[in-house]
């Protein structure tokens, strides 16, 4: 049913030199019903369900901090035209570094710089009168935007730092750019939860769990390798990957103020029991506060279109 994406994007139109069906072309290598399937949408085309991304979000300062250093962005759109639909979404969570000055400046800059570059280079292409795909690859655009944010923070707010986890959904592909220890999870309809990002601070996590003392952590072989943040120290590369959007279920983006306090099972239970992504996010944040709320808490929950049938 999404066969005509090309038409929406529009770039197959300017295709002057294809001389289809020249003299010799008399038959078609497929049965008629196949052709109908190709050129026509199913008769009762989904009138009520468009494959939109329904997002909710919530934030809290937490119970021990006096200001919020997390920043989030929720940007969800749907292009629908001529029986074809392209869901497009950009979701970002950034956690400014505690212990540094102006953590909220760094997280805000990171979100704005990445969002601006992605929207300019990818989203605006959709809105053009003659839509053209970006010249760079999607992964390159994401990587460049993260590196631009890194340089911007280093310049505008030296000494501060931030993590950044951005999910870009373009139709059925989902690209994630990730630095630090915010997380993206996929939760399917059966309640199976899968983490899509890798924390860049294993040692810190192990210390929190009491597996390592600070002294042990200081000589741990992974103590340097797994720590990355925007605005901090040496240049780095963000983790970037592109996979297929899950056929149904939810995506959750959150800062460690949520995932460090609320067990995975509990997060799944809340998501499944909530009537909407928005109320689920409210409940997730409350659960983190109930558990002590030592840190800022941010959550974005995206309900995915159901492609499973």
């Amino acid at each position: 049913m999404l066969r005509k994406i090309g038409k929406i994007l529009g770039f197959q139109k300017d295709e002057p030199q294809s001389s289809l069906h020249d003299g010799e072309a008399d038959t078609i290598p497929i049965p008629d019903e196949k052709i109908r399937a190709v050129v026509q949408p199913p008769v009762a085309a989904e009138q009520s369900r468009l494959p939109q991304l329904i997002a909710g979000c919530a934030q809290s300062v937490g119970r021990l901090r006096d200001h919020n250093e997390d920043a989030i962005l929720v940007y969800s759109t749907l292009f629908s035209n001529q029986d074809s639909y392209v869901p497009v979404g950009l979701f970002i969570v950034a956690d400014g570094m505690g212990g540094h000055k102006h953590g909220e400046v760094a997280s805000g800059l990171a979100v704005r710089v990445v969002a601006r570059e992605v929207i300019q280079k990818i989203m605006l292409g959709f809105m053009d009168i003659h839509p053209t795909p970006p010249e760079e690859g999607i992964q390159e655009i994401l990587e460049t935007s993260v590196m631009t944010a890194h340089r911007t923070i280093t310049k505008e707010s030296p000494g501060s730092g931030t993590t950044l986890t951005a999910v870009l959904i373009l139709d059925k592909h989902m690209s994630i750019a990730h630095v630090g220890d915010c997380r993206a999870y996929a939760v399917n309809g059966q309640g199976k939860i899968e983490i899509l990002t890798r924390d860049h601070s294993l040692v810190k996590r192990m210390m929190e769990l009491g597996h390592l003392t600070e002294q042990e952590a200081s000589v741990h072989p992974q103590r340097n390798v797994l720590y990355r943040a925007l605005g901090q120290g040496e240049p780095f590369t963000p983790d970037i990957s592109t996979t297929t959007v899950p056929e149904s279920g939810h995506l959750l983006l959150c800062s460690d103020g949520l995932w460090g306090l609320v067990p995975q099972d509990e997060m799944v239970r809340i998501i499944q029991a909530s009537p909407s992504p928005d109320s689920a996010c409210q409940r997730l944040v409350s659960a983190a506060n109930t558990a002590g709320g030592p840190d800022n808490i941010s959550a974005i929950l995206i309900q995915l279109p159901d492609f499973s049938d």
Binding site: S18, L20, A25, I138, E140, P221, T243, T244
Partner: protein, 629 residues
């Protein structure tokens, strides 16, 4: 040493319940049958096992088992990923003093590493079980070998590898009296969750390692400590830390030459800057010892090249045609088909290479044949697409294009899709040989079209890459900077292909949007091969690449001696690929490590074909070869 209570090693505490150990006769991964326990550590055990993929011979392997005790699922999976990354790194090492890694896998809370089985003893056992001193000559020879492998590790690219845990129990002496390093700290992530973990082993580790620093000089210190232990028979773990200078070697073993004592003492200097700065420096000093004491002639023979020579490998059959084979063979139902520049298509018995029939075209055949409904289809330089009955080798029909046909046929929905140098992509009815349609691609089409999800993908020599529907209507077009001779592969809504512009492209299969681009050293005309989220391809730069398709990062590359124009293929855990240098290469597909290679007398430009456990490839030496996979 600031914190001695935190520096206990794990050898002594048997944390693992013995009943949890694998019993003899247990088979892991339907392949490795446990025969007994070799050793037990705190969080790990090592078993001797038999690889049942070799039913007719007893192939022994060592299986290291590590128990993941972390409770948090993220920490658990991080530990497993670190283990896997480490295993991949180890698998990429190639030195005769480093055991080969054959396999790794994780079952529930246990991770396993399957490595080369080294028969022999470790140096600690050797020292403990003998009553006399080890001959100096033997120790010098081992020291040179250990310097050699440390030098190999320290010079590893892109990042130096620091062994961190050189000690007598981590050094095996194999049946040929050579040194093998056995514990690469792969279990470290598993131990990290336990309180009191220290990196390195007390007694052998240098002072700075307790501050968390690891450098080549740290390994040099530990090697000095190991040699000191072996030569004096005094275990440093029973002595105060960093007290070697209080136990002069000659005081314990008066028969050691003073030059050797000097080298060991320099390695054991308290300050890293006072030690040998590189393992090569220490190796030359050791060679100096060998020279001065007159043992060099015995030693030089044993410190030859580090790279393991490939095993000798012989084809199970080969068949000689009358001219070069540049294309790729095809297998169907017990028969191998190959085109040749002697203008014939050959049908050979796949079991023994016996000639069944040949069919003469009127031009060379580089096109890879395809099968449909009792016929074989292929293109030829004679401008035609040929359909030949497989039983008789007689012609069914031929279809004329207006240029040489170097593209290979793709069959879908009863039609054959094939490109031609006449610039058209042709769709031909497979039964009748009549055209359905043709589409002007603007330039010669030498790539092989493919059909996925009712869409046809094909590249052209001008660099256009087309997505067409079954009516031949263009859905989208992407422009590469140079020719797309490589054929495409489609997986999970993404189409992958290479270009002569030296780039591998991953495009959204529905829209043609670029998801990522990967730069190769030089152009590619090789068709990518996908397996387990990895993409494999060859390049004119001579390398075979392995790229992660989600992150578009290089996993490994293996460099051959000449261009790689054919494509890799994978059977089980081996990748097979030919090179214009004339060799067929067999690599471990996850690590890119060489298993074996076979040198033909010409160039290999095509792609191998596999069936059952046999792999076959053609060469410009006029022959087609078949090997046991």
């Amino acid at each position: 040493m600031n914190n001695p209570q935190s520096t206990q090693s794990f050898e002594s505490d048997s944390e693992l319940d013995v009943s949890q150990h694998l019993q003899a006769g247990t088979t892991l991964a339907e392949r490795y049958t446990i025969q007994g326990i070799i050793g037990i550590g705190g969080m790990s055990a090592v078993y001797q096992a038999r690889d049942m993929h070799f039913p007719n011979v007893t192939k022994l392997v060592a299986v290291k088992e590590m128990v993941n005790r972390a409770l948090d699922p993220v920490v658990r999976s991080t530990i497993v990923r670190n283990f896997e990354r480490e295993a991949n790194l180890l698998a990429s090492l190639e030195h005769r003093a480093i055991p080969r890694i054959y396999d790794y896998f994780t079952l529930n809370e246990r991770s396993y590493l399957v490595i080369e089985y080294i028969s022999g003893h470790d140096l600690e056992e050797l020292v403990n079980n003998s009553n006399d001193f080890i001959q100096e000559e033997r120790i010098v020879r081992w020291a040179i070998e250990l310097c050699d492998v440390l030098s190999y590790l320290h010079n590893h690219k892109p990042e130096a590898i620091i062994f961190r845990d050189m000690k007598p129990s981590n050094v095996m002496i194999n049946a040929q009296d050579h040194m093998v390093l056995v514990d690469f700290g792969i279990a470290k992530p598993f131990q990290a969750g336990k309180r009191g973990t220290m990196i390195g082993t007390e007694g052998y580790s240098p002072p700075e390692q307790y501050r968390g620093e690891a450098s080549p000089q740290a390994d040099i210190y530990a090697l000095g400590a190991t040699l000191h232990h072996a030569i004096t028979r005094r275990d440093p773990r029973l002595e105060p830390p960093f007290s070697f200078h209080e136990r002069p070697i000659l005081q314990h073993n008066p028969n050691v030459s003073s030059v050797l004592v000097k080298v060991i003492e320099r390695a054991l200097e308290y300050n890293p800057e006072d030690r040998f700065q590189t393992a090569e420096d220490m190796k030359s000093a050791m060679l100096g010892v060998a020279n001065e004491t007159g043992m060099l002639s015995n030693i030089s023979a044993s410190i030859s090249q580090a790279v393991r020579p490939s095993e000798s490998i012989q084809p199970i059959w080969s068949f000689k045609c009358e001219d070069e084979i540049r294309g790729s063979p095809f297998f169907h139902n017990g028969v191998v088909y190959t085109g040749c520049y002697d203008n014939n298509l050959y049908a050979l018995d796949a079991n023994d290479g016996d000639f069944l029939w040949k069919y003469p075209a009127e031009g060379g055949i580089v096109s890879k044949p395809a099968y449909f409904d009792e016929s074989i289809y292929f293109g030829s330089e004679d401008h035609r697409l040929h359909a030949v009955y497989i039983r008789t080798g007689r012609v069914n029909w031929t279809y004329f294009t207006k240029g040489p046909v170097r593209s290979s046929p793709f069959i879908a929905e009863g039609h054959i899709f094939i490109g031609s140098d006449d610039r058209f992509l042709h769709a031909v009815n497979a039964t009748t040989g009549r055209p359905a349609w043709r589409v002007d691609a603007g330039s010669p089409v030498r790539s092989t079209p493919i059909v996925a999800n009712d869409l046809v993908y094909v590249g052209s020599e001008a660099g256009d890459f087309y997505c067409l529907d079954f009516t031949g209507a263009i859905k989208w077009r992407f422009k590469a900077k140079r020719a797309v001779t490589s054929s495409a592969v489609v997986s999970k809504g993404v189409v992958y292909f290479g270009s002569v512009d030296s780039t591998i492209y991953a495009l959204d299969a529905k829209t043609g949007w670029v998801i990522w681009r990967f730069r190769l050293g030089k152009p590619t005309i090789s068709t990518p091969f996908l397996q387990d989220n990895l993409l494999f391809t060859g390049s004119v730069d001579g390398a075979i690449y392995c790229i992660d398709i989600n992150s578009s990062k290089e996993v490994w590359r293996y460099t051959t001696e000449h261009q790689v124009t054919g494509s890799p293929i994978i059977l089980k855990d081996s990748l097979y690929c030919g090179s214009v240098d004339g060799c067929l290469y067999c690599l471990e597909f996850r690590s890119g490590r060489l298993r074996w290679k076979f040198q033909t007398e010409g160039s290999i430009t095509g792609t191998p074909v596999v069936w059952e456990d046999v792999i076959s490839i053609g060469s410009t030496d006029h022959r087609i070869y078949a090997f046991e996979a």
